[in-house]
């Protein structure tokens, strides 16, 4: 991947260590319950668990039977039942309070399996906390801040010490603080740092990017088939058989590794080239004598078969993607998104969205477009909710709370809004007032940011997607993701100097801290998205890494 582009790219740290840690912690916990026990695993945890341990590991530690946790009475003959669940009520304090209220306290023991970070690939680590986004940004509950801080601390202890930490966003600041405190409480040992610099970013700094349709291969696969915990389930129409197949998607998959970051338009060409090469390799058999054939079978055939399997899988996936996307007028959808990003032909965009809604093409896509319109135009719509309103009153209420959807009276601009705040003081209550302020604070200044940071390249120039010249290639050359652009700029400037106007537009909360230890290895950069990131962003950062000879492993709490 990146290594192929620049020979001097630094080696990535060995993140498989994190897996070993998590596994040993699990074993340790299982040993706290000696004797035979049945293990009940929550569906959400199956995939992460699979990455860490296997059944024989569990069996070795006296796990008898494995069940899925379901909302139904438990039938088990075992004396000990062990439940491995996602912390719905994460806080142990809250958890214990509930157990106490239910009269269960004492009958149930609780323990925490703090696996913190799961390496999903050579360069992706994840907290695997889908609820992170909702809890933090919607409910305003900071329960995961310590977890984020501890995860950072773990990386710092294993691969640090970090020499510089940059960040932007309220929660990034908190995570940083939590990490700093933990470092202070712990001991510092001098060691060879593998990760030099860290960049923390709150998801709500950039809501625009995740609202855009993804067009790089990995992003498309995620949009259509959902990549969960580095795994994807391809439906029968992809596998061309009668059952679906679960596949791991990472750099081990040689075919996938070559196309994952590519714009979709390049993928077909690549796959057919590969198929031809494969054909040639198979064809070599013809005219071989017995001895040659024997060598061929023992040395090459297995690899070829493997490649054949992967190739047909990804060709199947690409076909399925094409089929689904052409059915939905994908081209038109993309055109609308690009117009919105550019702030161009907004009327046409609105009428497209309106039609999209009335045709009931896809609820999620309609909402996505609405939010994109609202954010890029600083909220100027009130016409659309009526169509979905009845069914999604609560959805809209949530989106408004997140600042993803800002409804205003037509013609009302931000300044008018601001001047009205004075009026709000008189006739609304305190809670309402803070809401009004926070929604003002959440006002996205996308247009101004886009100009300042040059996020939308001039459209009159031809953009060759096969030879990307900047990160915009992940959106067909139409838009450089805001999040990644910020990261690029800050790393280039070694701080926020010169970006004052930008940070003002982003509501501040930026920081750049230099540690006491100056690390030699500042070429490996850890980017942590608090609240999740998209595969497109990962692709963009890989591109950035290739360009600058740096690596950006993304420790991100994935939540879509």
């Amino acid at each position: 991947m990146a290594n192929s582009a620049r020979r001097d790219s630094p080696e990535l740290p060995d993140f498989s260590l994190l897996k070993r840690l998590a596994r040993d912690q699990l074993i340790y916990l299982l040993e706290q319950l000696p004797g035979k026990k049945d293990l009940f695993i929550e569906a959400d945890l199956m995939s992460p668990l699979d990455r860490i341990a296997n059944v024989s590991t569990l069996k070795q530690h006296e796990v008898d039977k494995l069940y899925k946790v379901e909302y139904k009475p438990v039938v088990s003959t075992s004396d000990q039942l062990c439940f491995l669940i996602r912390p719905r009520i994460q806080t142990f304090y809250a958890c214990e309070a509930v157990l106490e209220e239910q009269g269960m306290f004492g009958d149930v023991t609780t323990d925490e399996w703090a696996f913190y970070l799961l390496p999903l690939d050579d360069d992706i680590i994840s907290l695997e906390l889908p609820e992170f986004f909702r809890d933090n940004f919607l409910a305003g509950d900071q329960r995961w801040m310590r977890t984020a801080g501890s995860a950072l601390h773990l990386l710092h202890s294993l691969y640090g010490p970090f020499s510089k930490v940059y960040g932007i966003g309220r929660y990034s600041k908190m995570a940083y603080e939590s990490w700093r405190e933990q470092v202070e409480q712990g001991e510092q040992r001098a060691r060879q740092a593998e990760i030099g610099n860290v960049f923390l970013i709150d998801r709500d700094v950039d809501f625009v990017t995740p609202l855009c349709s993804q067009v790089v291969y990995e992003g498309l696969v995620d949009d259509i088939f959902r990549i969960k915990c580095g795994c994807v389930e391809f439906s029968p129409d992809v596998t061309a058989s009668d059952k679906s197949v679960k596949v791991m998607l990472n750099s081990q998959d040689k075919v996938f590794n070559e196309i994952r970051n590519e714009h979709f338009s390049n993928v077909f060409g690549f796959l057919s080239q590969k198929a031809r090469n494969l054909q040639t390799a198979y064809d070599k058999r013809r005219g071989m004598d017995i001895k040659q054939m024997k060598t061929f079978v023992s040395e090459e055939l297995k690899g070829l078969k493997q490649e054949h399997r992967l190739l047909s899988l990804h060709i199947g996936a690409s076909e399925s993607i094409m089929k689904k996307k052409t059915k939905q007028d994908f081209q038109e959808l993309l055109k609308t998104e690009h117009s919105l990003l550019e702030g161009f032909e907004i009327r046409e965009c609105i009428s497209y969205i309106e039609e999209h809604i009335s045709r009931q093409v896809s609820m999620i896509e309609s909402l996505r477009l609405l939010c994109l319109l609202s954010i890029t135009e600083n909220g100027e719509l009130s016409f659309v909710t009526s169509n979905y309103g009845v069914d999604h009153l609560l959805t809209f209420s949530n989106l408004r709370q997140l600042g993803l959807l800002v409804e205003q009276q037509p013609g009302e601009t931000l300044t008018v809004m601001e001047s009205r705040v004075g009026k709000l003081v008189n006739d609304k209550t305190a809670g309402k007032l803070t809401d009004a302020f926070s929604s003002l604070a959440k006002k996205s200044n996308f247009r101004a940011l886009s100009r300042k940071l040059n996020l939308v390249p001039k459209s009159d120039e031809e953009y060759d997607l096969r030879v990307p010249r900047d990160m915009a290639y992940i959106f067909s050359g139409a838009y450089v993701p805001l999040s990644c652009k910020l990261i690029e700029q800050v790393l280039e400037r070694d701080g926020w100097t010169g970006l004052e106007e930008v940070t003002r537009l982003l509501n501040g909360n930026e920081f750049a801290v230099t540690g006491q230890i100056t690390s030699m290895s500042d070429r490996i950069i850890l980017v942590m998205f608090l609240g999740g990131c998209t595969f497109s962003e990962i692709s963009a950062l890989r591109f950035l890494g290739r360009e600058k000879g740096k690596h950006g492993p993304n420790g991100c709490s994935v939540s879509h």
Binding site: L17, R20, L21, D24, Q25, Y28, E31, Q32, P34, G35, R88, I89, Q90, T91, F92, Y93, A94, E96, F105, G106, T109, T110, E112, A114, D135, A139, G140, D141, Q142, R143, W144, M145, S150, L154, S157, L158, M174, E177, S178, Q182, Q185, G186, E187, R191, E354, E355, S358, R359, Q360, T385, S386, Y388, G389, V390, D391, L393, L394, S397, G431, K432
Partner: protein
């Protein structure tokens, strides 16, 4: 120490927790201890024992800290997790080997278990456990609010019960908030909820937004609807109160009860816009209950429905009625036109839905009627709020025959678009006529090769090409 011991007794007497009973489980617990030892590295365990010997300690039960029986009980305690705040104030819970007697392992105590791993980087991580000596000094828990918060943050126990004055409680809360640790904030809030009157708690939370949001989230998650509503009312957040109450309809399965509940929601203080939506929601469900009972049998037999219409969205309901109740008189509740009127459905939306439903049934005459309007002279013409290109799209997806398709392809305004659609759907007449209108001889000539040999289309093209009247542009 004595004081705290007395506190202990008090605690156990007043607490609803029962004291531990270890006797029957001794064997189990010894095994447990062994397994723990197994994962600890021998070397470090020895070091820790040394530490414990240095400081002579006595647990609340009078046994010397570090003795086997004490250790076994300690393990039991950690297993039972009953050691809430004041349970073991004297036990220096930070000693490495004891560190798991808290609710929730601190990160470091977990790594303690990892020492079996030979990796040096993990070793580096673990020594954090080894600094608690400084904390030995106070067996009596006289931690300040700030220290208490720090301990909680590290996952250690710290009694909250001793903070009884409002001032102390608020200090606790404020320190928790400034530590940005949601778990700790919630822990303090649980304590405040238990020990403060609602009025006081609500009043204090009002000026502490972060804590307030945590409290709201906590109440939401523990489904304490009653208190949550009270809180929101006290804060004057009436719209939130309304939404929250409205949300309850989701848990009512019976449609009649749900309808009645929604009716009762109508008087809630929603925002103007939401209020209209809730009114619509009620009207819709009321109507769905009526629709669910009616309908002609034949069509349901011919096209069995996949699901009941109850609780379906408005547009789905409209589609359903366009499908099963299309020709009913406008006065009935299930008539599509009636629904359109009642919910002020836009013309475009109505057209799209009706078109989709009738096309699905292949009721091409209905489709035709949908677009036909008569002007005052009695002439009919086709009109659509939707682009005809989109209409063709819908029809084609429902495999409309070419005769039907070509009517609409012909109505597409843009000639290029019309030609490409016509070619795609093999509406030869339209292609030919459009090229004729465009006076494009070359294209027409080219198209000749695409129609069947000796077909009517070919003859038509030939006629046109031979027509001297047409002034071709090329």
């Amino acid at each position: 120490m004595t004081k705290s011991k007395a506190d202990e007794e008090d605690y156990w007497n007043s607490s609803k927790f029962k004291a531990f009973t270890f006797d029957d489980e001794d064997d189990e617990l010894i095994r447990l201890k062994e397994s723990r030892q197994a994962v600890n590295s021998i070397q470090r365990l020895v070091e820790e024992d040394d530490d414990e010997d240095d400081v002579e300690k006595v647990s609340w039960s009078g046994e010397p800290v570090g003795s086997i029986s004490w250790s076994v009980k300690e393990t039991a305690a950690s297993n039972q997790r009953t050691d809430r705040e004041p349970a073991f104030p004297k036990i220096p819970t930070d000693t490495p080997s004891l560190s798991k007697s808290q609710s929730g392992y601190s990160l470091s105590s977990l790594f303690k278990g990892e020492t079996a791993l030979s990796d040096s980087s993990i070793r580096l991580y673990a020594p954090e456990l080894r600094k608690p000596k400084s904390e030995y000094k106070d067996y009596v828990s006289d931690w300040s609010p700030e220290e208490t918060i720090q301990r909680l943050q590290q996952g250690k126990t710290a009694p909250l019960e001793k903070f009884r004055s409002l001032q102390d409680k608020l200090l606790l809360l404020d320190f928790a908030v400034s530590a940005h640790d949601g778990n700790v904030i919630t822990a303090v809030l649980i304590y405040l909820k238990r020990t403060l009157s609602k009025e006081v708690l609500f009043r204090e939370l009002e000026s502490r937004q972060t804590a307030l949001r945590h409290f709201i989230h906590y109440l939401t998650e523990t489904k304490d609807q009653r208190l949550l509503l009270e809180l929101l009312r006290a804060l004057g957040r009436t719209e939130d109160v309304a939404l929250l109450q409205y949300k309850e309809h989701l848990s009512i399965a019976d449609e009649n009860k749900r309808r009645d509940f929604l009716k009762s929601c109508l008087s809630l203080p929603f925002s103007a816009e939401d209020s209209a939506h809730v009114q619509d929601h009620y009207t819709l469900l009321e109507r769905q209950i009526i629709i669910e009972r009616g309908g002609k049998v034949e069509i349901f037999q011919k096209f069995p429905r996949r699901a009941s219409i109850l609780n379906m969205p408005l547009i789905t309901t409209l589609y359903y009625c366009c499908f099963y109740h299309y020709s009913e008189p406008e006065g009935t509740y299930s008539s599509p036109l009636n629904i359109r009127q009642a919910f002020k459905i836009s013309e475009k939306q109505y057209f799209v839905t009706a078109l989709a439903a009738r096309a699905k049934l292949k009721a091409w005459l209905d489709v035709d009627a949908l677009f036909t309007s008569r002007n005052w002279l009695g002439f009919t013409r086709k009109k659509s709020p939707l682009s005809f290109q989109r209409v063709v799209d819908v029809l084609q997806k429902n495999s409309a025959p070419t005769q039907v398709l070509q009517d609409y392809v012909g109505l597409v305004e843009d000639p290029d678009m019309r030609i490409s659609l016509a070619q795609k759907h093999k509406c030869h007449d339209i292609v030919i006529n459009t090229y004729r209108d465009m006076k494009d001889r070359q294209q027409l000539l080219g198209y000749r090769g695409k129609v069947g040999r000796g077909s009517a289309e070919e003859r038509k093209i030939d006629e046109l090409l031979n027509n001297q009247q047409i002034r071709w542009k090329n």
